[in-house]
Amino acid sequence: MTHASTRGNALLALAALAIASMPFWASAYHMQLASTALIAAMFALSLQLLTGGVGLVSLAHAGFFGLGAYSVYLIGPASVALTLPAAAATAGIAAAAIGALALRTTGFFFLMSTLAFGQMLFFLFHDTPLGGSLDGVFIQRPDLFWAVPKAARPTVFLLLNLTVLSAMYAGLWRLMRTLFGRALLGIRANEHRMRAMGHDVQRLKLAAFTLAGALAGVAGHMAALTDAFVSPDLLGWHRSAEALLMVLLGGIGALHGPILGAFALTLLEELGPMITERQRLVEGAAILAAVLLLRNGLAGIRR
């Protein structure tokens, strides 16, 4: 997996500054939309650790996102200092347990087993009283150390989501430069040889799967915090597929690809209905064109 160049990181920093300045020039609606994109970017970025980092394609990832979101509901009114680590830990523990079983398989069978585990998590919240209601439940937002007036929420959540995404990106950027990151890339390039060289491939993959799950839980937590609403739909497999689409659109080979992909897809979902009622058709055509024309995704345009 490549990393953004110094220039690429500078452009990302500029984009982050532009988002941070939105409270001065954008409407509350557009700030909420940007928050949606930032959360989608966190989710897709967490998946990139698996897809671009180790070469694993998982359909259980939305399950960990949903677990993070539902942690907020299940804990009840509490400080974000408790709900955020709890969401990450819950999703991480679930990912460790699921990964320990699913990673015994490879390729197509891994994909199918993650689909099965992901759907188990979905039905856990959809078909049992645990999730509160089939249609979702409104929740009380975690306490943010200070009282946030209703009018200031879009601004506060925008800046908060931007901070969490930036921290997640910086953390993964550093992680991929460690010996652990290099070993993951080695597995992605040639798992068989890595094993023959003596690497504990299974353990490395499980560590990546667990960390990616915990980060998806953080993204889910931020979604619950921003929307004050959780529903079983958050855990559906189509959400995992959507995140994979963001990774693909942005570029599997680049760490910052999913961020670009998440913003592009959010924008596409916003602009699609303006062109036609059949917005999925527009989205589908745009994604198809991007995948066919941009071999390395959006991140590969200026490489």
């Binding site: 992680l175 430069r177 460690t178 010996l179 652990f180 990151g181 290099r182 070993a183 890339l185 080695g186 390039a189 040639n190 068989h192 040889r193 890595m194 094993r195 023959a196 060289m197 003596g198 690497h199 504990d200 491939v201 353990r203």
Partner: protein, 241 residues
Amino acid sequence: MMEARSLSRRFGGLLAVADVSLSLRPGELHAVIGPNGAGKSTLVNLLAGELAPTEGQIFLDGTDITGLSVAERARAGIGRTFQRTNLMLDMTVLENARLATVIPFRRLLRRADRETVPLAAARRALQRVGLPESALARTLSHGQLRLLEIAVALAGQPSVLLLDEPLAGSGAEDAAPIAALMKDLSREHAVLLIEHDMDVVFAVADTITVMVDGRVLERGTPTEIASSAAVRDAYLGHGGG
């Protein structure tokens, strides 16, 4: 020292390796030759842990390693190369060799560019085979890729080297330096060589084991093997080269 005792491996009705015993000693290059289908590659895969033996045991420095996985055996000191180039082609030559050093889990969060042990081991291995560090593996010639196979195995600092047809697909111009390298490596490592190029085998081997139909037909020095009537009949008669 690595020792295989009465190794057998059955695939359904086929006995690919039958009651094979051999020893690999430091400072010795032990070549295993035989016609196609003789069980040479199966033997390497049994020693490396890719396959479990149906019967028999494998020892490394007196310890029974028969139940160890591929990775565990590699960490115990068994390095190997592959018949078909098996590398990280989109990484540089140096990155390929650096990955050969296995770092304990607790130290994995250190920055890769500050960790000197893998770098030093990789550089030593690459200097030994004479490959450019910064080249992308994909851009190397076939002969250079075969050398990188050996360098990657070497960078893991093994005590035993299993070389599975290191000259596969190489021309005469690539064969000479690789043969010299193998001879050189056998001074410090216990080396097992599977090879079809008989000129190279007879030039570099200290001991030769001849396998036919999964069994050991003959074992001896190159001179003894060259003069063996049984080998001439059974092996050269197969036209295995």
